[in-house]
């Protein structure tokens, strides 16, 4: 599934009642669970985190 990048992408997703949520783990070798896609790393001077994303319904996102 393609993840949204532009404002138009996010608007199309929202029109379908969907949105994107995120999770972070210590590395890309560690998945937060089923259905998550690796997005990229957030690198700081002292730390690197793997950022994951998932498309869910807006209701699911609000319940998080």
């Amino acid at each position: 599934m393609d993840f949204p990048v532009t404002a138009e992408d996010f608007a199309v997703l929202a029109a379908e009642g969907l949105t994107v949520i995120y999770a972070e783990t210590a590395s890309r070798d560690v998945s937060p669970g089923e259905g998550w896609s690796y997005w990229g790393d957030l690198k700081t001077e002292t730390d690197t985190k793997a950022i994951w994303r998932k498309i869910v319904t807006i209701e699911e996102a609000l319940a998080q």
Binding site: V5, A7, Y22, W39, L42, K43, I51
Partner: protein, 182 residues
């Protein structure tokens, strides 16, 4: 002229103001059974809080700026920038996202500003209201709130200042909105 007809309005979406260019603002409405043509702007004066989208939610990895005319009847506003997530790096620093706001008159070159920054998921808020103090607007951690106690001028400018190194598709998933306060 058609007979006057009673109708009711139900506004479920955020009100989007249109600048009519003569110092007034309008909201487009559709009135069933009335003599007002559909989509003809109806001038309004703000009497309750309303909001506008400044930057739609998207992945941002370069700085962007937007200018907005301040509607009539407004004394203050609240800028809200929400960062949902971040990917990227910076050789010496963490990727940085800064919400900067300015207000200025069309005739004056001076401006006043407020800014809030983050390198991770949180909300950056900037509260503008004449005479406001910091205690009147606080944010729940890790969110950040700045207060500007000066009046708004004719225009407000909102800027995402972004620094960092981003691969294709990486950046700050973020959006910004402004709440007008009468």
């Amino acid at each position: 002229m058609a007979d006057k007809t009673t109708t009711s309005l139900s506004i479920t979406d955020p009100i989007k103001l249109a600048d009519l260019g003569d110092g007034s603002y309008a909201v487009g409405v559709a009135l069933n059974g009335s003599s007002v043509p559909n989509s003809q702007p109806v001038p309004i004066k703000i009497t309750g809080a309303s909001y506008q989208t400044v930057f739609n939610r998207a992945i941002y990895n370069t700085s962007v700026t937007s200018s907005i005319a301040v509607p009539l009847g407004v004394r203050g506003c609240l800028f809200i920038a929400k960062v949902y997530a971040v990917t990227g790096t910076n050789p010496s620093l963490i990727p940085e996202f800064r919400l900067q706001t300015y207000s200025t008159t069309s005739a004056a070159s001076t401006s006043v500003s407020g800014s809030a920054m983050t390198s991770g998921p949180k909300e950056c808020l900037i509260y503008w209201y004449p005479g406001a103090s910091l205690g009147q607007a606080t944010a729940v951690s890790p969110n950040e709130c700045k207060v500007v106690a000066l009046p708004l001028a004719d225009y407000v400018y909102c800027r995402f200042t972004i620094s960092g190194t981003f691969n294709t598709g990486e950046g700050f998933d973020a959006g910004a909105w402004i709440y007008w306060i009468p």
